[in-house]
């Protein structure tokens, strides 16, 4: 793939030749290069991680990622807590999408304990997961637009996100961290009038997304800077463990909702959204269409979801709950791809080991370091946001 993007300098005689593995020899004492830190406090970084960039002119020649600013040692903390006590921890693993953590942790616990959850709880969980996807995408649209200088779009979509958070608040009591999906089921049924208010929220989001489509996706500045930029080759998908929209934009229909159906997704009618060109523009468009798919799925769920019924299976006293020894892996499709919890129990009241498999782990470290070479310093933020990475889940 020839590199031809907006900021590409055609005169390559100024730049040192690349070795077969894509790296170059950098002699810092030649005074040609400049080393700068991009992050950890930088609006263009999604969260707190930093990139150590080596620049020649305004082009990135080498990059090393540094994480660790958000390390809280959650996996270790969980080994000292009972299963129910882990719940306030797991939702904080990936800050903007707590519900996928809650679901994966709860379903892994239920599988090891041999608990089957009631039908209504499955529908409510599916609803909450789709609402979480919707609000996370809305925040991402703002980030992607802002990284290319369109700050106003972020204000529109964050308004829409706030409306989704209002719905979360009336359903769960919390706006960001919900702790709604608990082992055995969920914490409550739909409140009165929720359907109508949800429908109104979805209509507002659709109206704003039409504007976003006109202003962002048909904007010549956005197109010039994103088309052909940051291409993920299809053969990298398995080589680097790329999942979710980043893989779907390359034409690979990877979607856990279809590939390994969970909860009520088999009863919903949808097809994974895919693209062809695999550049920043295509990835953005795949996410925009996935957002609208999420709106459609919430409408389908709202028709089928029961208003009453059992929402929680009976569990033992959670403070003396011994989970039988075993190991399992539970996964769900979050906005960035496959999200999973690997859980090992030794038969005691405490988890032996919990490991979080977050998609940012591969996207933000090994993949980003590879893709960022030869990118203009002004486009680094846009590239990073287009991979949709959340540093909190890298270091947990």
């Amino acid at each position: 793939m020839s590199k031809k993007f907006f900021s590409w300098n055609e005169d390559r005689s100024l730049y040192p030749p690349a070795k077969p593995d894509g790296t170059i020899d950098i002699d810092l004492s030649s005074h040609k290069y400049l080393k700068i830190w991009h992050g950890p406090q930088h609006p263009g970084i999604t969260g707190n991680m930093s990139l150590e960039l080596t620049l020649l002119g305004d082009e990135v020649m080498a990059c090393e990622t540094h994480v660790g600013y958000l390390h809280r040692g959650f996996e270790k903390l969980m080994e000292r807590r009972k299963y129910i006590q882990c719940f306030p921890i797991v939702c904080r693993v990936a800050v903007p999408e707590p519900d996928f953590n809650e679901y994966c942790f709860a379903s892994a616990t239920e599988e090891l304990a041999g608990i089957e959850i009631p039908e209504a709880a499955k529908w409510l969980r599916t609803l909450v997961l789709e609402m979480a996807r919707l609000q996370s995408y809305l925040m991402w649209v703002g980030g992607q637009a802002g990284a290319f200088g369109q700050g106003i779009i972020g204000q529109w979509t964050l308004y829409c996100r706030d409306l989704v958070l209002d719905r979360f608040e009336e359903l769960t009591g919390g706006r960001i961290y919900h702790m709604y999906i608990i082992p055995g089921g969920v914490r409550g049924l739909l409140p009165d009038g929720f359907r109508e208010r949800m429908e109104e929220t979805l209509r507002i989001i659709e109206r704003f997304m039409k504007d976003v489509h006109s202003v962002m996706f048909n904007n010549s500045v956005f197109k010039k800077r994103s088309v052909g930029m940051g291409v993920i080759e299809p053969e990298w998908i398995n080589r680097f463990g790329i999942v979710g929209p980043n893989a779907r934009a390359a034409g690979v229909p990877m979607d856990v909702r279809k590939d390994d159906p969970y909860l009520k997704y088999p009863e919903l009618d949808f097809e994974p959204v895919t693209g062809t060109d695999s550049d920043i523009y295509t990835r953005a468009d795949v996410r925009r269409r996935d957002l609208l798919l999420s709106v459609d799925l919430i409408r389908q769920i709202m028709v089928k979801i029961p208003d009453s019924g059992e929402i929680r299976a009976k569990t033992p006293n959670v403070l003396h709950w011994k989970i039988p020894a075993g190991e399992t892996y539970s996964r769900a499709e979050c906005t960035r791809g496959e999200f999973g919890y690997y859980m090992v129990s030794d038969g005691s009241e405490y988890p032996r080991r919990v490991n979080v498999r977050g998609p940012s782990y591969t996207h933000a470290v090994s993949l980003l370091e590879k893709m960022i070479i030869n990118v203009n310093i002004a486009d680094v933020a846009g590239l990073m946001v287009s991979l949709h990475t959340y540093p909190p889940e890298i270091e947990r």
């Binding site: 990298w236 690997y342 080991r353 090994s366």
Partner: protein, 179 residues
């Protein structure tokens, strides 16, 4: 030829000394492979058996048995099958062969395991550079014998005028006051 997970398990048992096969649910199996055969078995699974997606690589510390369990979770996307490869290595000689040439992201996992569990993967890129814990000189913190509470009590000091509850007692009182 049609994909059969039982056939794959049979081959692993026969060719690579696999044992302790366990089917957790349909589509998720676990099997233990001896350390010497593990990388060969994983290479065989990635091609020709089609387990081309490395889902995760992590370690479990079985302190009582003096062993680390490395778990390589592989996914076969075409046949919707997950296979967890358990590899037991001694805690006092925590060295394992690297698989970074099969999957690029494995280097990051191995770097984290080196830092958090002290498991060495010779030859893995940047494996000796600090990943999350810059400037850490204590023992690998995710090992079971590293006591976070003791470390925190020795390293930090409580601010005067603040009190805290024992979480277990406090929750018991809140949830089950009669028990």
């Amino acid at each position: 030829m049609e994909f059969q997970i039982d056939q794959v398990i049979g081959n692993l048992n026969e060719l690579f000394g696999g044992k302790d096969h366990h089917r957790q649910r349909k589509g998720l199996d676990f099997i233990t492979i001896p350390k010497e055969q593990a990388v060969a078995a994983i290479t065989y699974l990635s091609n020709p058996e089609g387990f081309k997606h490395l889902v995760l690589l992590t370690a479990v510390d079985w302190l009582e048995q003096g062993q680390f369990q490395l778990t390589y979770l592989l996914n076969n996307p075409d046949n919707k099958q997950d296979l967890g490869i358990r590899v037991l290595i001694p805690r006092d000689q925590a060295v394992m062969d690297s698989i970074h040439d099969l999957w690029g992201q494995a280097a990051t996992y191995q770097r984290e395991l080196r830092e958090m569990f002290g498991i060495h993967f010779p030859g893995s890129p940047r494996v000796d550079q600090p990943f999350i814990l810059e400037g850490w000189d204590g023992p690998p913190p995710y090992r079971r014998d590293f006591d976070t509470k003791k470390y925190a009590e020795e390293t930090y000091f409580p601010r005067p005028g603040r009190s805290s509850n024992d979480p277990t007692e406090y929750m018991k009182h809140q949830l089950y006051p009669d028990e």
